[in-house]
């Protein structure tokens, strides 16, 4: 039974690959509608954590409690090339209501004009917005974002940040964003976690108000702190 004040509850979670514990005694709780960003170098267990939360992978021990309705936006759009954009958004659902829902979701991500397009005709940013629409159609209580902007160009990334921020404000799912980009984490999240060695080494709230400006004092202080936690020397 999921308690009302938590969207995610992890206690004593371990996950072992080939004798190496990627997660060991891992604990994390996330409130409903909380936006959590997870930073960490490669191999610190970010991906493993996200796969446990999505249900694609199972823990070797501990408690993993997540909402029934979850969606993932992956680093790649992962669209079925043989299905039109709207069919991808409502993959596996049937009938005209499905199409109407797909159109509504695509309109929200600004792709109303591409409802009937084939995925291979889209740009990287457009395809990723389709993936976002597909995730939203599920009306998730937990939205998992696995480095969804990493492959996008800088301008598209800025627009995607705005879009994700707006959609989160409107639908209020709990969000877990895995990213390498410290600025992105501070821009979007309520709370930033730094993972190292399969544990949370830093857990800080981002309590200054939106919209956040990269040149702000709070912003740069937090950026310094996160970067040094990540082992990047800042002078």
């Amino acid at each position: 039974m999921l308690s009302h004040d938590h969207a995610v509850e992890l206690h004593g979670v371990s996950r072992v690959f080939a004798g190496r514990a990627v997660l060991d005694g891992f604990a994390l709780t996330i409130r409903p509608a909380e936006f959590v960003a997870i930073l960490g170098a490669s191999g610190t267990g970010k991906t493993t954590l996200l796969r446990l939360l999505s249900g694609l992978d199972r823990a070797d021990g501990g408690t993993v409690r997540v909402p029934r309705r979850r969606s993932v936006v992956f680093q790649e759009p992962r669209l079925v090339p043989a299905k039109r954009v709207w069919q991808n958004v409502v993959l596996g659902r049937r009938g005209t209501p499905a199409r109407a829902r797909a159109e509504a979701a695509l309109t929200e991500v600004g792709l109303a004009a591409h409802v009937n397009a084939w995925p291979k005709t889209l740009s990287g940013g457009e395809a990723q917005r389709v993936a976002l629409a597909r995730a939203l159609v599920q009306e998730p209580d937990l939205l998992l974002l696995d480095e969804p902007f990493a492959a996008l160009d800088a301008l598209t990334r800025i627009r995607m940040h705005e879009l994700v921020g707006q959609l989160w404000q409107r639908y209020r799912p709990a969000v877990v964003l895995v990213t390498h980009d410290v600025d992105e984490a501070i821009l979007l999240a309520d709370r930033v976690l730094v993972l190292s060695g399969g544990r949370i080494s830093l857990d800080v709230p981002v309590d200054f108000p939106q919209p956040r400006i990269r040149s702000g004092r709070d912003f740069s202080d937090l950026r310094m702190r996160l970067l040094s936690e990540l082992g990047v020397a800042v002078h």
Binding site: G55, V80, P81, A82, Q138
Partner: protein, 296 residues
Amino acid sequence: MADDLNHGIIKFNIPPPRQTSARGGENDLIDLSPHLVPAPGRSRRNGWLLRAAAPAAILLAWQLASSFGFVAAEVLPSPADIVAAFAELIRLGDLQAALPVSLGRAVAGLAIGGTTGLALGLFAGLWRIGEGLFDAPLQMLRTIPFIALVPLFITWFGIDELAKLMVIIAATIFPMYLNTYAGVRGVDPKLIEAASIFGLSHRQTAWHVILPTALPSILVGLRYASGAALLALVVAEQINARSGIGYILNNANMNQRSDIIIAGILVYAALGIAIDLLMRLLEHLALPWRPKLALA
């Protein structure tokens, strides 16, 4: 020697400064302005002319060689003779009688063999148990050239229609199986993972994700299988042919009519071209989502 020569005269023979604009060195700009690229319509027409040139020249040389008596008509009849042989086959109604029979054999064999190959390929591709059961034996059987089976099939199935049909079936199962299996297995596991995240059942994932994505490969299998069906048809029609194009060829052979034999071979070739065109049309219609890519 050349060195010696150069040595002697080098100070009088200083090369002039390179004129980069005229000479196209490595770092020069090359002109890709539109007016330098030939108009597509014209280049396409020229392309057709170029392609038609060699066959036309061969035909002409062939006709001349026959007309001037360089080649005996019994060995290689002239193009005009072959056209006349066609006219004869059509006038007597032989061709009209043979074509449906031969096509019927090929289509029936392809339908049965192709469907079997498709079903086995899907079964082996989608289910581990199917792979375990079928893949190894089919991969072994695949190495047998189907032509080698003809004597065996004659002893098993006799010399009537059944043996002919079985040869075509044997020839078409494997290309269909291999490409279907490869297509299903080639679907990106990440897509299947995404489908499971979005709550698709195994059946829905197979229908909405795996099959559409594997369709290009399945159609390649169908194309190979069609080609194999035609090849098998030619072989099968050598068995006690009493109808079909094989019958025309057999009769012509006994009557020493090389003009009719060549006409019959050309009919087989035309069937091959027709099948290929049909398959391309099918791919075009079935795969509208594939980007139309061509290198010039």
